[in-house]
């Protein structure tokens, strides 16, 4: 019920409130016009036919037509309004979800798969819409029909009304039971939908792996399992409501019998007119209808509640990374980056332990270390994609938590390990950070990233569409576009997280040379495996299991003969046996 209240609370907005009130009034009016019908029947039977007052016929029949025309207009407007209300609600819900999900930290996306998020944004939102536009209105309408008709029965003859009401408690009890049983089943189905969604998405994303391991049959079996599970859950739901529905149907169909027996006895005993009995049967359809629909409405309501709960769950996940209220809006950012005793934990697991370094503007820091040692985690703290557990990350002397999040991230040029390109032209992808960029700047950035040449060689050049819906690029090409994209921001701090791992050596060398020029006055952090990428850094830190185990310049680390030296040896020995170290090469 809290959920329903919460949905209602969104109607606090004035326009929606007004719409809702008008819509409900129209609903009320439309139902009222229906209440008149059977009463007119009574007049027709008792007065016109029984008492031969034929002059009334014209008025009564005109009234039926006029009422119907009025009702038609009311119903049309009402339905339109309810649709409008639900569409507005859904529009806001989607909008909120969209921008809210964009605020959630990386951690959320570590834990939730896209298949699941999509299933929420489509299936569950549709569930809520369906309820608001159809279910809720129809439920209210039915409640009005029921209470209105009972009231009319009381007006016609209280004994009839009381007789009819006798089955209500039984029906109420069954409905209550049904509600309790069906809720977890719907929740199960929604969950399984998300699972099936994820399963499919993963299979298609990894189809190349599937095929190279000839695991098609294995994948079919896995899918089959989830598919069958979903089938079974649906069947459980079917069995549940195929048990309750006919029962409720039967109980409601008893009401006409009760009414006729009671009414018949009264008519025969001369205590009631035949017209009243016939009129009351007109109301009885308006009573059994809602009773029959009760199960259907509970069904719908429960589905909507399940879906809404899942949606609110997302909305309630506060961004664990919050801006301070008086967050700063730095006009100029020098880019003096400092880590002070930084620790980071994911759950119980220590990822970073006591990381400290000082990186003034214009300097270059290189981070090396084994796979999974925590290198990426360090740079993720700078843009607050995660927050450190203890310690402090400062820029220009201020804690990164004191800055406005967006301003902070705007100053960072970040090239991630895995490149994501959007389905759009290369130009749009490169100017992603700054929509109003001049083409010259795009070309400059892509030239520095050594991407200009291969881009211009493509059939549509900069207008080539890439990404999921575009042409496939090799890993190295994607990385170069990603570098250009980061450079175009003209960032004060540039972070290259293994950004050239798929680029061939020669190109990497060219990128590095041109970058060195651009980044002269700016701060650079490079994560790399190749000594060649890090040796010119002002400071090199070597990370092992989340701790800095060595630090210094290239020369001092070589002298130390530790981990760094070993890596150096590994990479240099390629040239050991050959005379290629000789002078001619150095000037080649």
């Amino acid at each position: 019920m809290d959920i329903l209240l919460r949905i209602l609370s969104t109607f606090a907005e004035k326009k929606q409130k007004v719409r809702l009130i008008v819509a409900i009034s129209l609903l009320f009016a439309a139902v009222s016009t229906r209440m008149v019908g059977p009463y007119l029947t009574k007049i027709l039977i008792d007065d016109v036919i029984g008492n031969r007052m034929y002059h009334l016929v014209f008025y009564i029949l005109s009234a039926i037509i006029v009422l119907s025309a009025i009702r038609g207009t009311l119903v049309f407007t009402r339905n339109y309004l309810f649709e409008y209300i639900s569409q507005t609600f859904i529009f806001n819900m989607r909008d909120d979800l969209y921008s809210h999900l964009h605020k959630l930290p990386f951690k959320f996306y570590d834990e939730h798969r896209i298949g699941e998020i999509m299933s929420r944004m489509t299936g569950d939102v549709e569930g809520v819409r369906n309820f608001l536009a159809g279910g809720a209105m129809s439920f209210m309408e039915n409640v009005l029909f029921f209470t209105g008709s009972i009231a009319m029965l009381f007006y016609l003859d209280a004994r009839l009304a009381l007789a009819v009401l006798t089955v209500s408690p039984l029906l109420g009890f069954i409905a209550f039971k049904f509600d309790k049983v069906i809720r977890p089943i719907f929740s199960d189905i929604r969950e399984q939908n998300a699972v099936l969604n994820t399963r499919t998405q993963e299979n298609i994303a990894g189809i190349r792996v599937v095929k190279s391991f000839t695991k098609e049959n294995h994948e079919k079996d896995l899918f089959d399992k989830e598919n069958i599970k979903q089938l079974e859950k649906h069947i459980t739901a079917t069995y549940t409501w195929s048990y309750f529905f006919p029962l409720m149907d039967f109980i409601s169909s008893l009401t006409p019998a009760i009414l006729l027996v009671t009414g018949g006895a009264l008519v025969v005993n001369g205590q009631m007119s035949l017209g009243t009995l016939v009129a009351s049967t007109g109301y009885i359809w308006m009573i059994t209808g809602p009773m029959r629909m009760l199960g259907f409405h509970i069904n719908m309501l429960e589905q909507a509640i399940t879906s809404t709960e899942k949606l609110f769950y997302y909305l309630d996940l506060g961004p664990s990374i919050k801006e301070k209220e008086n967050a700063l809006f730095p006009a100029d950012f020098a880019g003096h980056l400092k880590f002070e005793n930084v620790n980071l934990k994911y759950g119980d697991k220590e990822v970073l332990n006591n990381i400290s370094f000082d990186l003034p503007p214009g300097k270059k820091l290189a981070i090396m270390g084994a796979t999974g040692s925590g290198k990426t985690s360090i740079v993720n703290l700078i843009g607050r994609f995660y927050d450190c557990t203890t310690g402090k990350v400062t820029i220009d002397g201020l804690d990164v938590k004191d800055y406005k999040l967006k301003m902070l991230r705007k100053q960072l040029g970040y090239v991630a390990q895995e490149t994501f390109l959007f389905s759009d032209t290369i130009t749009e992808n490169i100017s992603f950070g700054n929509p109003d960029t001049a083409m010259d700047d795009v070309i400059t950035a892509s030239s520095i990233a050594q991407a200009h040449k291969f881009i211009t060689q493509m059939p549509a050049g900069y207008e080539t569409i890439v990404g999921e819906r575009g042409i496939g690029l090799s890993g190295g090409e994607k990385q170069r576009i990603a570098i250009a994209r980061a450079l175009l921001k003209k960032p004060q701090i540039l972070i290259l997280d293994d950004a050239t791992s798929s680029v061939d050596m020669e190109t990497e060398f060219l990128i590095q040379t041109s970058l060195a020029n651009v980044m002269k006055r700016k701060t650079t952090i490079v994560i790399a495996h190749r000594i060649s990428s890090v040796k010119d850094a002002d400071e090199i830190i070597v990370i092992d299991k989340g701790m800095i185990c060595e630090r210094g310049t290239h020369e001092s680390l070589i002298e130390r003969q530790g981990l760094y030296f070993r890596m150096y040896e590994d990479q240099y020995k390629d040239f050991d046996d050959y005379d290629i170290r000789k002078a001619e090469w150095q000037y080649a």
Binding site: Y84, Q87, G206, N227, G372
Partner: protein, 594 residues
């Protein structure tokens, strides 16, 4: 991310095609008998429930109007009996039809999924994952209603219509004509709005599928969006797409909702006419009150099936749009198929020959031109060359992920087109540029290479590629759930896991396509040591940029613009003018200078 680029070819609806429809019905065929029984149940229950007004008529005319209340007991008993019968039939009808429909849906979904597994790389190159997913999930789901209820319901509705008309006319012919006088009006409304209703809903569906595509990409790229502070722009775009959906919906609703009020109006006209003439007939004693009421009650029940049938046409059109898209996939034959005479690939020794191989993805761009080489069993071959030169294409041809346009590839002297793909690929280990990790435990992910492997063998493989250490350091070691619910792996760690996976497969031919680019040099060196032992006497192809990886190869092939320009071992090539020497120089200079 422009909107229009997300719209291509989604939700195109064609006119109703009976072929497609019957093909779809085939999925219900196995449930013929069940459906027949369900239909019988349904007929029984609707006849039972339609008997209600008739019984009430008898009750009023024969007993109440004649003050014979006591004699009416059998009518009531009959009524209750009919109600029970109707409820019981409803129960089994729902069970049978729902279960049959759901099963048919599950089968269709499975068929679709299975078919997708058989499609070639070229299909996945051209179709974004999001779109394929929509077909397997959403399009199949949209057939739910049709399968579980729609088809049987519409049969029942048609039958109910006839039954009601029959009952009415058998009660009183003239009055029944009067009652249905307004039916042509309804036909007119249906006729006038039909086209608009269809078109406008079609637009709605297109807008929704646009929105879903945009959502999918938004969440896939959310990290980039956050890093580039593009949230507001994206939100603006989404707002537009979102209002498109809302507005198109409201436009559709406007025409859609004309129907009910006009039905109500037509019904009122009928009621008025029935009263008007009914009273006259009653005056003439040609009609009883009970019959009049019964006709009115039947008239009241006449409109709902009519409404359902008119809605059915719409839902059929919607379902057909989905059906079309589903069959489009099912009808896509894989580009690469086993030839009918394909035999099993005998245990591979590892001789690989390219004979005049050319390849192009389309007519315009030749990717490979007349490539010839012969590799001996057990050789390690490194492929070197600039991005886009065709290195990946060469290795993809060996495992027959693509088909040569000209020439052929032979392994141990057997043209690979003459053997089954599964027996061929089953003996190869292929590691691609991006390591893909499935949801599940680390153990599951490595075991993906060989389902029969014991835990010990999995651990052995992990140790061989130096992945063991980081794995046992995770919360639950080999049983840590990855790629879902919180466990993060670095790119390098993913590569190590997929390395172990490949190794566990114990392949005869190994292909490494930039498989170690994100692994640190130290680990890579260790992997290479392991490989040296494990790949003894096995042929392998390595694409890499790092000299340390390349130089260990027995032979190095330099690929440029789709052709092999140099071939030889490190010692030979480094002394020869050409691309390879340039590469080495660059790397050396890179290492030395800066």
């Amino acid at each position: 991310m422009l909107r229009n680029r997300l719209t291509d070819d989604e939700a195109i609806e064609r006119p109703f095609s009976s072929n497609q429809f019957f093909r779809l019905l085939n999925y219900l065929k196995p449930f013929r008998n069940e459906m027949l029984i369900a239909l019988l149940f349904m007929i029984t229950s609707s006849v039972a429930s339609l008997s209600g007004p008739y019984l009430i008529m008898l009750f009023i005319d024969d007993y109440i109007a004649k003050d014979n209340f006591a004699g009416s007991w059998w009518v009531l008993l009959f009524y209750i009996g009919a109600s029970i019968l109707s409820a019981v039939c409803l129960r089994y009808r729902v069970r049978i039809m729902d279960v049959a429909g759901r099963k048919a849906i599950a089968k269709l979904r499975q068929d679709l999924f299975d078919h997708i597994q058989g499609l070639s790389f070229s299909y996945f190159d051209s179709k974004p994952a999001g779109k394929i997913m929509v077909r397997v999930i959403n399009d199949v789901n949209s057939l739910n209603d049709l399968f579980t209820n729609g088809i049987v319901n519409v049969l029942i509705d048609v039958m109910t219509l006839f039954l009601i008309s029959f009952l009415m006319f058998s009660l009183h012919v003239q009055l029944s004509f009067a009652a249905m006088a307004a039916v042509p009006l309804i036909m007119l409304v249906i006729f006038l709005t039909k086209k608009y209703i269809r078109l406008r809903w079609q637009i709605v569906r297109r807008k929704i599928s646009n929105m879903n595509a945009y959502l999918h990409e938004s969440f896939a790229g959310v990290r980039t969006t956050q890093a580039f502070v593009r949230e507001n722009e994206n939100r603006q775009i989404f707002k537009e797409i979102n209002s498109d959906v809302k507005n198109s919906w409201m436009r559709a609703i406007k025409v859609n909702n004309v129907f009910w009020p006009s039905l109500d109006f037509a019904s009122s006209i009928g009621v008025v006419l029935v009263y008007f003439y009914g009273i006259r007939f009653m005056q003439a004693e040609m009609l009883t009150l009970g019959t009049l009421m019964a006709i009115l009650w039947y008239l009241g029940r006449f409109w709902e099936p009519l409404n359902n049938i008119s809605n059915f046409y719409n839902s059929i059109l919607v379902a057909m749009a989905s059906t079309e898209r589903i069959f489009e996939i099912l009808d896509t034959a894989p580009d690469i198929k086993d030839s009918p005479a394909a035999s099993l690939m005998p245990p591979i020794k590892g001789f690989v020959d390219f004979k005049n191989v050319s390849f192009s993805y389309d007519e315009h761009t030749k990717v490979l031109q007349n490539v010839n080489f012969a590799v001996k069993s057990g050789e390690i071959i490194a492929l070197v060359g600039p991005t886009g030169a065709g290195k990946t294409t060469i290795v993809n041809l060996i495992s027959r992920f693509y088909e040569t346009s000209d020439g052929y590839v032979a392994i141990d002297g057997i043209n690979i087109k003459d053997v089954t793909m599964s027996s061929l690929r089953g003996q190869m280990g292929i590691m691609m540029q991006d390591a893909f990790i499935f949801s599940g435990t680390v153990m599951d992910n490595i075991r993906y290479g060989n389902s029969d492997a014991t835990d010990e063998e999995v651990i052995e493989a992990a140790k061989a590629v130096n992945a063991h250490e980081f794995i046992i350091n995770m919360e639950k070691g080999y049983f840590t759930e990855v790629n879902e619910r919180g466990s993060r792996l670095s790119t390098g760690q993913k590569q190590l896991i997929s390395f172990a996976r490949t190794l566990l497969k114990n392949p005869r031919i190994l292909i490494l396509d930039e498989a170690t680019s994100s692994i640190d040099t130290h680990t890579e060196a260790l992997i290479q040591k392991a490989l040296e032992i494990l790949l003894k006497d096995r042929t392998s192809f390595v694409i890499a940029h790092r000299l340390s990886t390349i130089r260990k190869a027995d032979r190095i092939m330099v690929i440029e613009k789709g052709q092999i320009t140099q071939i030889g071992n490190h010692d030979e090539l480094i002394r020869t003018q050409g691309i390879y020497q340039d590469l080495c120089k660059a790397q050396y200079r890179f290492l030395k200078a800066v």
